[in-house]
Amino acid sequence: MTAPGLRSEDFGARLSFDRGETGRRAVDVPVWSGDATPLPDAHLLRDSVRLPEMSQGELVRYYTALSARNYGIDSGTYPLGSCTMKYNPKVNDLIASLPDFADAHPQSPVEEAQGTLRTLMELRQGLAEITGLPEVSLAPAAGAQGELAGVLMITRALEDRGELEQRRRILVPDSAHGTNPATAAMAGFTVTHLPTAEDGSLDRATIERELDETVAGVMVTVPNTLGLWENGIEEVAGLIHDAGAYLYADGANLNAIMGRIRYGDLGFDVAHLNLHKNFSTPHGGGGPGAGPVCCTEELAPYLPTPVLAEDDDGLVQLIAPERSIGRLQQFHGNVGVLLRAYAYMRALGLDGLRAVSGQAVLNANYLRVLLHGHYDLPYDRPVLHEVVFSGSRQRREHDVRTYDMAKRLIDHGFHPPTVYFPLIVEEALMIEPTETEPPEAIEALAEALIAIAEEAASDPDTLHGAPWTAPIRRLDETKAARRPVLRWDEVDPKLD
C-alpha cells in the first residue's frame, strides 16, 4: 500500500541517492550568529560530501516503504533456529529510552550514573544466579565478543599458570556455531573438531583421545545446536579439568534451560550468554545485542573491563579486574540492551524464566511430533528448545532442496527456519519456535511444512521457483559475489 516510485516495478533500483532533487533538505540547521572563528586551513577541509537531498516527507516515505519490505517478529512466526526469535516486550524499549537512562554520558562520574549502574549490578547478580557462575562482565557487545572474552580469559589464566606456550589447541564440536572456531582462531589457538556421536551428543571416545596437555579448552554449546542435551557433559567436564583444560559454554541456547540447570553446576568454567536471544531484546535486523561473560571465581581476575562492584559507600563502581584481559569496547558495553534484559528478567522472575524454558521446550517437541514422518529426523529423540529436521528425503526423491522448501514457507506467511546449519545435518532445517508462539501458530507452521512436503512430490517446480508472493523473487547471489556492487555510485539507477 505505497505510492508509485515507492512500490514501483523496481523499487530497489532507486536508492535515496537517486531520489529527491539538488537543494532539497529534510532538516534545517541553526546558523551561527556570534563572532566567527576562521576555519582550519583549507587542506584540512573537504569540498563536499555526496548525500541524498530530499525533503523530510520524502525521506520518511522512503524508509517507511523500506520497512514494509521487511519481516519481523511483529509480522509473524520467525522460527529461525539458534536465534531464539521471540516476542520483544515493548515496555523494555520504553524503559531503555527514559531520558535519564538514554542521555547518560559514558564518561560521567559514577555518582551521576548510579541509576544505570545499580540496574546493571542487579542484572549481573541475576545472571550469576541463573548461570551458577558467580562472576560476570556485561561488557561484550554480542555473543561472538563474549566468546572472545571467554577464550582470552582462558589464555590469560594459562599464561599465569605458565602453560600457554604448551596449550595451543581448543576443541570444538563439529556441530558448533561458526563463531566458536573463529573465536578460537582469533585468540591464536588452533581448532580441533570433535565429531558428534549417533545420539547427537559429543563422541566421548574422541574427547578422551584428544584431551592432552596441548589442550587449552573445550567449547561446548549446551544444549547443543541440534537442540539436544549434551549427554554426560558433567562427566566430560571432569575429564577436561583433569587434563588441565578449561570448559567453555556457548550459552546461546540458554532459553532451553533457564532456571532449570546451571552451567556452573555442570562444571563449566566460563560461559557467554546472548541476551538478545534469551532475554528477548530485539534483534534489530542484526544487532545491537549483548553477550555477557560469566565465570568461576578462579577466572574472575581475568574478566574483561569493566566489571561492576559496590564500594563501601554503597556506590556501584566500574572496575578493571586485577588481571583483566582488558577492554572490548571503548566504553561499557551495549547498555541500552542490558537495561532491556534487566526489565525482561524482572518481568518474569524465577518462575517466569522456568515457564519460558518449559514452554520453549514443549513447543519444540510439539512441532517435532507434528512433523514426525513428514521430514527425516536424523536424531530422533525428544529435543529441547529446537528441532533439526533434514530435507534429505525430499532432495533424494524429488530433487527439492531444503532451500526450496524454506523459500516456499515464505509464501505461506512464515519466516523460514535456519537452513544448512548445523553443518553435520544434511539439508538441515533447524526450527526454534520459542515460547512466545501460541500453539495455533505452531500448528499452522506444521501444516504449512506438511503441505510443502507434499508439494515436493506433487509439484516440485512451484518449490524451485518460490517464493512467489514476497516483495521480490530469488536473487542472483552468485553475481553479487562475483561482481560486487557494494555502494551507490558504482551503480547506474538501473543495474545492468
Partner: protein, 455 residues
C-alpha cells in the same frame, strides 16, 4: 505486590494450562518436567535467588525511580572524550522504531528482508562517502573494536606482527586494540610521532581529531606509513568529517569511526556503532557483513517481467559461519539498528546540513573556549587547529576544578591532567558541541568566573 492469578499464563507466554495439557498429551509426556529428563537429575532445579516478578506498571515505576538517580539530562555537562551529544533529526528515531526493522534479525532470507538489506546498502554508501573509501561493511560493535579489526586486517595483509598507535589516541581504543592484539600475539606500540613507524608495523593508527581534540593533517602521516610499507588506519569522527577532509582523500587505507552519537543518545556509551571502511584491495579481507546489489534470477509475473534489483549479504566466504576458523573475524550480530538510525540521521542532514552542523559545532566550541580563555586565571592551551574539544587550565588543580564545578551542579570536562602531552598538564578537556545549550555554557562561564574570583 506480585503478579496476580497464580497459574495464569505470563503475558509473554501465550499457552494456557489447557493448551499445555493438550500439547503434553500429544507429545506423550505427563508434565513439563518430563521434557527435561535428559538433564542430570542431581543438578536439576537448583535454588536460584532472583527478585520477585513485577507486573508492567511496577516495572515502569521501579525503573523510572532508578533512572531518576542518574544525573538529569538537564545538568550542564562538558564531557566529550569519545561520546558527544548531537542534534539528531527527529525522524531518525521515528523511523528506526518501526517494528519491521526492530524485530527482524540478520537478513538471511533476502526476499523478506529487503528493508534491512537495502538500508544496509544505504549505510555502506554513506560511510564510503564520508570516509572517502571504496568499501564499507554494515557496521561493527564500536569504534575501538572496529579499530582492532582494522589492525588485524593490516596484519593479515602485510604479514607483519606489530601495530603502531599514534598518541594522543583514545585510551579505550588503545586498550581494545591491545586486547585483540594479545589474542593474536601481536605487539602494540604506542608512538608519539610518525617517525617511530618501522617496517615491523602492519599499520599506523591515527585518530582524527585526536584524543585531545586537535585536527590532524593525515596526509603526511599516511605518506610516512606507506613509505615504511604499513597501512594507514584513520579513526575518524564521522560528524567531524562533515567538514574535515575525507581520510580516504588523505591516503588512509582503512577508516574506522564511532557512529553512535550521530545515531541517537549516548546511552552510557552503548549501543555503539563501529564504522569500518577500506580501500578496494582489502575488500575480501574485511570483517563483518557486507550487503551487495544484484537482481532477481527471474523477473516477476511468472518470470517474464524484467528482473528487479535487490540486495543480499555477499562475500560471505570471509565469514565465520562459512569459513569457521579461517574467517576474517568472528563477528556475527553487530549493531544493525544503530546503523539504520545513523544512516537516516546523516541523510536527513544531507550534504549541506552535515557541513553546517559541523561548522556550527566548531564555532560554538571556539566561542566558548574564547570566553573561558578571557577569564582571569584561566588558560586554553592549543596544540593546533581543533574541532570541538579544548583544554582548560584554571587557577587551581584540575581535579579540584572539577570538584568545584560539580558542587555548582556542572559536570566538568574530562580530566586529562595526568597525560604526557605538556598542554594537558593540569588541564581538563571541555567539550562543546552544536547541541550544548547556550544556557549551559553561560552557567559554566559564571561558575568559572566565581571559582577564579575565589582562587
Amino acid at each position: 505486590m506480585s503478579s496476580s492469578l497464580a497459574g495464569s499464563p505470563h503475558p509473554y507466554i501465550p499457552a494456557t494450562e489447557a493448551d499445555r495439557a493438550r500439547m503434553l498429551e500429544r507429545v506423550g509426556v505427563t508434565d513439563l518436567d518430563a521434557l527435561f529428563a535428559d538433564l542430570p537429575a542431581d543438578l536439576r532445579d537448583p535454588a536460584i535467588e532472583l527478585p520477585p516478578a513485577l507486573t508492567e506498571p511496577e516495572l515502569i515505576a521501579l525503573l523510572q525511580e532508578r533512572a531518576a538517580t542518574n544525573a538529569a539530562p538537564t545538568r550542564p555537562s562538558f564531557l566529550g572524550a569519545g561520546a558527544y551529544r548531537r542534534s539528531i533529526p527527529a525522524i531518525a528515531s521515528h523511523l528506526t522504531s518501526r517494528s519491521e526493522f526492530v524485530t527482524a534479525y540478520t537478513p538471511y532470507q533476502p526476499e523478506i528482508s529487503q528493508g534491512t538489506l537495502q538500508s544496509g546498502f544505504e549505510f555502506q554508501s554513506v560511510v564510503c562517502e564520508l570516509t572517502g573509501m571504496d568499501v564499507a561493511n554494515v557496521g561493527l560493535y564500536d569504534v575501538a573494536s572496529a579499530t582492532a579489526e582494522a589492525c588485524l586486517l593490516a596484519v593479515r595483509v602485510t604479514k607483519r606482527r606489530a601495530v603502531a598507535l599514534l598518541e594522543p589516541i583514545h585510551p579505550g581504543t588503545a586498550e581494545v586494540v591491545s586486547t585483540y592484539a594479545r589474542g593474536a600475539g601481536l605487539r602494540v606500540d604506542s608512538i608519539a610521532t610518525a617517525d617511530a613507524v618501522s617496517d615491523e608495523h602492519a599499520c599506523l593508527v591515527v585518530q582524527q581529531p585526536d584524543f585531545l581534540g586537535t585536527i590532524v593533517d593525515l596526509e603526511p602521516l599516511a605518506n610516512v606509513a606507506h613509505d615504511r610499507g604499513a597501512l594507514m588506519v584513520a579513526v575518524a569522527d564521522p560528524f567531524a568529517l562533515g567538514m574535515l577532509k575525507a581520510p580516504g582523500d588523505a591516503g588512509a587505507d582503512i577508516v574506522t569511526g564511532e557512529g553512535r552519537d550521530l545515531a541517537g543518545a549516548p546511552a552510557f556509551g552503548g549501543p555503539s556503532l563501529g564504522l569500518f571502511a577500506a580501500g578496494l584491495p582489502y575488500m575480501r579481507q574485511m570483517p563483518g557483513r557486507i550487503v551487495g546489489r544484484t537482481n532477481e534470477l527471474h523477473g516477476p509475473e511468472g518470470g517474464e517481467g524484467e528482473p528487479r534489483t535487490g540486495y543480499v549479504l555477499t562475500l560471505q566466504a570471509r565469514e565465520q559461519f562459512i569459513r569457521r576458523e579461517r574467517a576474517t573475524s568472528n563477528v556475527s550480530t553487530a549493531q544493525a539498528l544503530i546503523a539504520l538510525s545513523f544512516t537516516i540521521a546523516v541523510q536527513a542532514l544531507g550534504p549541506r546540513g552535515l557541513r553546517e552542523s559541523a561548522e556550527l559545532c566548531y564555532q560554538r566550541a571556539h566561542d566558548a573556549a574564547r570566553r573561558i580563555a578571557s577569564l582571569p586565571g584561566f588558560d586554553v592551551p592549543e596544540r593546533g587547529p581543533w574541532f570541538q574539544e579544548f583544554l582548560v587550565r584554571g587557577p587551581i588543580p584540575a581535579s579540584e576544578l572539577a570538584v568545584r564545578l560539580s558542587e555548582r551542579g556542572i559536570t566538568a570536562g574530562f580530566d586529562v591532567s595526568d597525560r604526557a602531552e605538556p598542554e594537558a598538564h593540569n588541564a581538563l578537556m571541555f567539550c562543546v558541541t552544536e547541541a550544548t545549550p547556550d544556557a549551559h555554557v553561560d552557567t559554566l562561564i559564571e561558575a568559572l568566573t566565581s571559582i577564579g574570583d575565589e582562587a
